[in-house]
Symmetry: D2
Subunit: 238 residues, 4 copies
């Protein structure tokens, strides 16, 4: 399980409460890229999880258009993996199409061209995708939800030679209300949030975790079997 | 580029020479899981790489049959990612078939059951697969090369709840001679080498790098375009 | 649209009424393999279709176990295409696995071995598949609905060198009630019905249409866009 | 085996010789859509096939730009199947992208827009594709051979509501010399040849067979196993 807001320099958890009746002894391990924490839960029966937090976010909405891409050999060792293909982001398979659509573009301008292409060619359709939907599926289906938008952006941006990763988060104004998925791109020496759906602003986004793609940051990964009875997410600005 | 033998507790590089004429300033970054090193090369024209090393390996051929799987919540934080689906190892998609074939098996016995199933159902056929071939493709094609064998083993083993990752290596007796791919599985608190093709013994395997799958440990990842003119790998026991 | 019961030697339509208010002039064309009829409808707005029929079926539940497969060169010209790969039945891709599981089996015994394998390894799970699900997807997902069961049976049977095709039908005892999909296999010179789900008996099955796979016999193929508001199928024995 | 030039109103076989030493008794069956013939061969050992023909073609290079698409309900019953998805032409999966690229276009103008898009975005690369490559794979790989070009054209044209099918043929100027694959589209009541690669002119194309896609018109379909030792195709204008 990974649902708690991460401790990060630009977001501070003011108040937080995680309640899992009957499972006080959840075990925590650091999550991918050392952003956030995963908890292992071993329920025997019905599981009820309640999480509530108040978060102060101090992350400006930067203009990334002018930011340059870093030369590949200067990338930190732990950033390189975010250039490579992953489960839902088949950079290799989509490389030719990426080149055909965005060849010659790079840096922040390239990232924004990708985001604008997605905004102009995809429709936000809840239920259009399923657990196995990859960025390639979304590329030709031309529809999906936040996770699909983020996977497509990450895949195309990696194809431009820019590291990109998936981010799970809480954000207000997500319709319908749910966990949100967006992306971070590596430009000018650091990670920058970008939302292909246009729903969330960086300054209002409480990051839970990061990963290569949704396989790494699922809010709930099941080993064994389980049924989701009900789920509700409420995010509001104070 | 990732072709140099890794510095590891159980393998010592006695002598090593990497020659890349005209590119003395290749830049090194640590590779995945801090095993091995990647080099960035920026050739403008024809590139000739020569690498030669003598390695002393002190890694016994352990019997893993009796080793238990670690309970999931006790896994170190940096091992958890090797349980999850990746580019060529769609654990999620293959979960039902894994369960159908190997349900109830676990630990070293489960790993060996997977290895034996692969040995009994796959044929080693150079040229049968291509760059995009996943473990799922191999599962129904029932043929492939070392990389395909390793991907299938890694995917099925992860499906049993046991962390597994891909390993690139040099090994003698690989036919035809080439870079070799095998796997490591996490049992009883450490990584253990296992070769689904049966070609390489742990005690004769010089590890280059590790990763979630071949996307992470390709001996050469191209950004831009290049043509492979010729390649030769020679490994011998001293 | 293809929902009317076909006129066939072994099933007689005693009474039939198709009502499509405001579209009296639907145009009929023969369906695939000259079994059944398709109707073209060009609705401008909301479309309400009501179809009702009483059918006398004179089709014995034959034991196919002892029936031989016909030698390939003796197959009638219009039967050959049912040996080949089609949209949802990638015979080629699954050939190695088919051979591995059923190699050496042929004729009615081979068909029943396939049906029994499916019965023993798949779970009937409404909602588990989607419009693009192929026999290959079902082979490793190990779950699906009648259409998925039929696609898998057709694909595996073709892999044994026996022509097989998909059949849409009405049958009682289908749970939940819906259009039903099953298969026909070509043995000993004629087509024989077989239901991989075990829900429908040949003697109680009113055939609508046949085709290479679901792409050919969809009850409704949309050119343009449309939304399905509601659908109900009721089948009962008199 | 399907390699003989078809008997058609617009192409006349002046002279023809098929030699298959030791297999005088090949059995012929009509091929798909009643264009061409398939032969069943049952070799026990090494098979040597030699085919030679002289063909007079009387097929003008028509301008199809101005030809209208036929209204769907007026399509002959045996043409309707060429609108539907098939093994290598997943019309359904590519519908959204087709609509996005060519929405609003129809008839001969639509067909030519598709052909020009393919000409502008694909590279002809022998060896880039394999036996399982679909139109969808080619759509994002942006490269392939004649068969891939033809599959992509057929899929996109069907997506415009225009029947389209694959054609195997002999044509001069195919580079490298080989069997050629192109397409036929149904406009204004008849089939019209079109070559997405631009290599072959209708007036110089000797049609062998037609089908939904390559699954139907493979020059050699193997039941059992076989190895292709050598193959040569020579086509010249007299």
């Amino acid at each position: 399980m990974q649902i708690a807001v991460a401790r990060l320099p630009d977001q501070h958890v003011l108040r937080e409460n995680l309640s899992v009746p009957g499972l006080a002894d959840a075990i925590h391990v650091a999550a991918h890229g050392n952003v956030g924490e995963r908890s292992w839960l071993m329920p025997s029966d019905r599981l009820l999880i309640h999480y509530e937090a108040e978060v102060a976010i101090n992350r400006p909405n930067l203009a990334i258009e002018a930011l340059p891409a870093d030369p590949l050999p200067t990338l930190p060792a732990d950033v390189v993996e975010y250039l490579l293909p992953s489960r839902y982001c088949p950079v290799d398979t989509m490389h030719a199409a990426t080149d055909d659509l965005f060849g010659g573009l790079t840096g922040g301008a390239g990232v924004l061209a990708v985001r604008d292409w997605i905004g102009g060619h995809l429709s936000y359709v809840p239920g259009a995708s399923h657990a196995g939907t990859t960025a390639l599926d979304t590329f030709h289906a031309r529809e999906g939800v936040c996770r699909d938008y983020a996977h497509l952006l990450v895949t195309l941006v990696r194809g431009l030679g820019i590291p990109a990763r998936l981010v799970s988060a809480y954000a207000p104004n997500v319709t319908p209300p749910d966990f949100h998925a967006l992306a971070q791109v590596w430009l000018a020496g650091s990670w920058h949030l970008i939302d292909a759906t246009g729903m969330a602003e960086p300054s209002h986004t409480a990051i839970i975790g990061v990963g290569r793609d949704a396989a790494d940051i699922s809010f709930l990964t099941i080993f064994g079997s389980a049924t989701l009875n009900e789920q509700a997410v409420v995010v509001s600005l104070l």
